[in-house]
Amino acid sequence: MKTFLKSKEMSIVGVVLLLCITLAFVSPVFLTADNLLDVLKANSVIGILAVGMTLIIITGGIDVSVAAVTSAVCVITVKLMMIMPDHFISLLLAFLVAPLLGILLGALNGVLVSKIKIPAIVVTLGMMSIINGLVLYITNGVYLNSSNFPQIFINFANIKIFGVSIIILIFAAVAFLTWYILKYTLIGREVLAIGGNKESAVRVGINFDKVQIFVFSYMGFLAGIAAIAQTAYTKSVDPNGMLGLELMVIAAVVLGGANIMGGRGTILGTVLGVLLLGIIQNGLILAQIDPFWQKVFTGIIILLAVSFDQLQYKRSQNKLAKIEVEA
């Protein structure tokens, strides 16, 4: 599997590299540390969500409510921070509340998917509609702005370690944690097993419901973290600001080589997928492509990348099928 997955990731590494080289020629600023860090920072929220989505997609599910959940958590957490004193404890509390809220909403998705057996896309579609509606109704779309934020949070948001923003570090930590879970914990292996073969998983005693509730709750947990990262990034909350982000998240995961039918997917691949999308966006502006044409380019690059990837995959499958023929 290792070699095979490697080749799968290699193809996206190839695409990313190709794009980088082209851009480096087109725009001298592209390869500067400053720019690359900006790209990373701008895509950290998508990245955090995509890492969680990877687990769900490996089990063969999908979650289109991620952006809605993140928005809801943003709103609630920030409202909470605004009524709390400007103190370290308040910050801690917010960091506790956000993931918990996310887990709660995620677990609700998980329970509906596993216990009531409603397909994941439907549950989360319904959930997205409900949460977005409620958020809009409650906030009336009003921005919550940094002028209202406690100073301690602003300070937190501005933390940099060796010039790397805290937001990127959160993303990195989340990616590492999830990689570890997937590789080295029982539940992580169960996630992969379920994706590989649901029926067999049940037969060998894996609790399918439990694993599903886990992946959705974990997604919720990361949505909570993403909410913190998002708030730190924009230093404001736009209740409508994340509409439609879920498609980008899913695109990143699948570009990263995960199979939408389940069973296949890696954290490294997903991170690369996120980077690919981020670089496309950044690169089109740096290359000074006419804004009207940027979407055309984005669409074409996505189509080329996925087609290339698929052809590559087919070829590797063909090689697997060979048998030894005597000369």
């Binding site: 509609s129 809009l136 109704y137 699948v254 669409g299």
Partner: protein, 320 residues
């Protein structure tokens, strides 16, 4: 043996009927001429897109690009007409453009084998970009009077023309799906593409036709929309995208493919339509309408689940 319980489509039909009765009784103005009329005008465009989505879902795919196919063909028709071309050639060119979009989806899905959600995500962005580049984001109008009759006119003074088009297309789709070789193959490919390939079904041709057909339905929806709204723009009908997935699923379509019926999707579209209009009449805020729609979607599926469990029990006791 097979008709111990009602098929889920009939249940949905009953729900639709009861929603209609309840709303007529309790919401003033719901049963009014104006409102009924509105609903009849609003349903066709959404219904067509929902059916298009349903067919693609039956094959185990999804088509995120349908609303942009609609927009692109709408813009084409608008540009042609505003440049003085007559209606029929404009519509034909619009249909061709839409079918080309469907072809692109079809080729990448069926020949290269990329998963549909990715392909259509890509083409969605691509089509949007093309429209933006053509229109510079502006809306294009300049339709002729006759054209606007398609979406706004009546047949025999009572039934909206667009409704008739919708009914015809729905029946046609139903017949194609249940009674033709292609339709049967759609279900087979959706259930198990490997086995259908081993059974002499030309999977890629079946899929190709599915994406072409979905595109065709989108174009027809687009013609109704552009004629109703008198203009075409990049986001024409974009709010219908996820709604059409919801309607297809509420209508009983299996998201993994292999099952789905036109009638179920139509019932679901009607339910959504009535809820939206009824709640509006009640003055419920739009955002809460969304909440209720989401809740209904989940509720009906929970209901299905409960019913399934009950059926299972009933059948067991029947045999034992």
């Amino acid at each position: 043996m097979k008709a111990i319980s009602l098929p889920k489509e009939n249940i949905l039909g009953l729900i639709a009927l009861s929603v209609f009765v309840l709303m007529s009784l309790f919401i003033p103005g719901f049963f009014g001429h104006n409102n009924l009329n509105n609903m009849m005008f609003q349903l066709p465009e959404f219904g067509l897109l929902a059916i298009a989505m349903m067919i693609v879902i039956v094959t185990g795919g999804i088509d995120l690009s349908i609303t942009y196919i609609a927009a692109l063909s709408g813009v084409t028709i608008a540009i042609m007409q505003s440049h003085g071309y007559p209606i029929i050639p404009s519509i034909i060119v619009g249909i061709i453009v839409g079918l080309l979009c469907g072809l692109l989806n079809g080729v990448i899905v069926s020949k290269i084998g990329v998963s549909p959600i990715l392909v259509t995500l890509g083409t969605m962005v691509l089509f949007e970009g093309i429209i933006l580049s053509i229109t510079k984001g502006n809306s294009i109008s300049g339709f002729s009077e006759v054209y606007s009759l398609i979406g706004n006119g009546y047949y025999m003074g009572i039934v909206p023309l667009s409704m008739i088009i919708f009914i015809i297309m729905a029946i046609l789709t139903g017949v194609l799906l249940t009674k033709t070789k292609w339709g049967r193959s759609v279900y087979m490919v959706g259930s198990n593409p490997v086995a259908s390939l081993f059974s002499g079904v030309n999977n890629s041709r079946v899929l190709m036709k599915v994406y072409l057909f979905a595109a065709l339905l989108s174009v027809i929806a687009s013609i109704i929309m552009t004629s109703r709204y008198n203009s075409a723009k990049v986001d024409l009908g974009s709010s219908y995208l996820l709604q059409s997935v919801s309607a297809a699923v509420l209508g009983g379509t299996e998201i993994q493919g292999g099952y789905g019926k036109v009638i179920g999707t139509v019932y679901a579209a009607i339910i959504f339509q009535m809820l939206s209009s009824g709640l509006n009449l009640l003055g419920v805020p739009r955002s809460i309408v969304n909440v209720i729609m989401g809740a209904i979607l989940i509720f009906v599926l929970v209901l299905n689940f409960v019913k399934y469990k009950l059926d299972e029990k009933a059948q067991k006791t029947a045999v034992a």
